[in-house]
Amino acid sequence: MDKSVGRQPENENEILLRIYETAEKIRYSDERLRTMLMSGQVRFNYYSVRGQEIIPSATALWLSSEDYVITTYRGLHDQIAKGVPLDVLFAEYMGKATGACKGKGGPMHVTHAASGLLVTTGIVGGGLPIANGVALAAKLRNEDRVTVVNFGDGASNIGAFHEALNLAAVWELPVVFLCQNNLYGEHTAVELSMAIPSISERALAYGMPGVTVDGNDPLAMHTAAGTAISRARDGSGPTLLEARTFRFFGHSFGDDDAYMPGEQKARAMADDPVPKLRTRLVADGGIGHERVEQLEECIRAEVDDALAFALASDYPEPTELAADVYA
């Protein structure tokens, strides 16, 4: 197991820089994918993660490849932050044979064992019972392995959420329920779906800590994730961590987001967490402008190379259709 887990960068600026590096990689990847979709160069269902980059970027600092992340169809940020190599990730999104799942899963079904991105589901709330099974396996075998399961605000209204949180608390499973509350469940505002102001309040009903954090605040998110993950790792049990954020581009690519008030969206975009973090690094953080630019150049090259690889790859052969239905 990676011994560096738990040992965080020595100072605040280095933490912020590492969060920025991942967040900017996510932001740029998302931007490139949307551009390619818009131009018709590629075709797949895409659920933009723009605006939610900070959450997994800060969380990932507490996880090693031995730890597991489970995510959803809006999962590009979680997948990148967990370390899924970009070439096989983009190839999977495009349905190419070189993809992480041979092109048979697409954005809704990504797994990558080596990086610990265990599984991706297209069903809202579908990951939570699975996470309990994964965490139970770790507990039964006395493994030092934390499972972080990501889901949205909408999933917290689904029965599986209740079933999973209830038993995870009873058995003190090493799992973190990370709810990325982006204020909309598909096309419906969160306040139309629940009568309470914050999802973390629900934790009280299960007997586990419930914490709400500004998911767009890198240090606050880093601290909150660290507390929840450390709690899971030391055997104290699960946490419901609600990270509040905002998705900039509607539910899915091509979404007419007229249901989102323009003012709300404009306000959120003006407060875009990624450039905001960059400004903080350069202006207040004492990280040289040059160092940040160098970093961004590397990120762009890595993302562009991976996209080129994915584009150049072939689609799966029809013979692949019958493979992997059974063991």
Binding site: G99, A100, C101, K102, G103, K104, G105, M108, H109, V110, T111, H112, A113, L118, V119, T121, I123, G126, L128, P129, I130, A131, N132, G133, V134, A135, L136, A137, A138, L140, G159, A160, E163, A164, N166, L167, V170, A323, D324, V325, Y326, A327
Partner: protein, 323 residues
């Protein structure tokens, strides 16, 4: 003489042997641990194997979902859904995850899980009496075993636990107390190999579990009149042994499927289609499907008797076919 065991105890023996043989095996579900399961198939397992046989809340999404997660992490979970009707309560985990995830993830996840379910045996009404095998058989990615004898209950359970696929084992409620010979020690029944339970040349009956029992009783009556029917037990519905079916129908020229489930798009409908594709030239009479007419399973005993195929109905159907 081979040792006699009840169907329920044969299941228990398979679970105990596999729990002892392979530490990755975990057995769990509602009332499964301390109580030993409501069907008597798990008595004493918790005492013998401790935390590897445990209770869960009444939460079917969770039960099957945890089995999926545990299987992905290399364990061999054996989950129980207390009634096979509850497969619908766990619909996401059964039909969308256990069935599709290996495929959707390009073979990147392993799903060696078993779901045991008590099936059929009407009297509990429409939410607790269904035989749900047709829904499962319709779904690529999962195996479906339908043990009809105590020996098969043990052998199929063992094979299911050792299989690398998700396997759904339907245990028929009315068979739990039935006794039959069961081999001692390791006993494995291969998937996809139908068994001829009675040989004959007048007509082929395909039936499993309680309908097999009724069909064999009807066959006994018919034999008194010199009508020898062949009775084929498919043993597993996925994989389904088409070859044995075709071989039997080549001999008899006619087929009756007896099924404890609604008629439309049931297992009998699939068997009919398989016969059209693989044995058209051998059939000299139309397929007969004896099934529950397309109504929910009723509760009142006299209504149950009116819809579930009986020994009399099987006998009458054969007599019509050989007339």
């Amino acid at each position: 003489m081979t040792r006699q065991l009840k169907y329920a105890h044969a299941i228990r023996e398979a679970l105990a042997l596999e729990l002892a043989r392979d530490e990755r095996v975990m057995v769990f579900g509602e009332d499964v641990g301390v109580n030993g399961g409501v069907w008597g198939a798990l008595r004493g397992l918790h005492e013998e194997f401790g935390d590897r046989v445990f209770d869960t809340p009444i939460a079917e999404n969770l039960i099957v979902g945890m089995a999926v997660g545990m299987a992905m992490r290399g364990l061999r979970p054996v989950a129980e859904l207390q009634y096979s009707d509850f497969v619908f309560c766990a619909g996401d985990e059964v039909f969308l995850k256990a069935a599709t995830w290996r495929y959707a993830h390009g073979g990147g996840v392993d799903l060696p899980l078993v779901v045991r379910m008590a099936s059929g045996g009407s009297g509990f009404g429409p939410e607790h009496s269904q035989c749900t095998e047709a829904y499962l058989m319709h779904t690529p990615g999962i195996r479906v075993a339908v043990p009809s004898t105590p020996a098969d209950a043990k052998g199929l359970m063992t094979a299911a636990i050792r299989s690398d696929d998700p396997v759904f084992v339907l245990e028929h409620k009315l068979l739990y107390p039935m006794t039959g010979p069961v081999p001692e020690g390791e006993h494995i029944v291969a998937f996809g190999q139908a068994v001829v339970r009675r040989t004959g040349d007048a007509v082929t009956i395909v039936a499993w579990q309680d309908m097999l029992r009724r069909s064999l009783a009807a066959a006994e009556r018919l034999a008194a009149d010199g009508i020898e029917v062949e009775v084929l037990d498919p043993v597993t519905l996925n994989p389904f042994d088409v070859e044995s079916l075709v071989r039997s129908v080549e001999k008899t020229g006619a087929c009756i499927v007896v099924e404890e489930a609604p008629l439309t798009l049931g297992v009998g409908a699939e068997i009919g289609a398989l016969l059209m594709e693989h044995a058209f030239g051998h059939l000299d009479r139309p397929l007969v499907r004896l099934a529950i007419p397309d109504v929910p399973v009723p509760t009142a005993p006299h209504l149950v008797d009116a819809v579930v195929p009986s020994v009399d109905r099987v006998e009458a159907a054969v007599r019509r076919l050989v007339a």
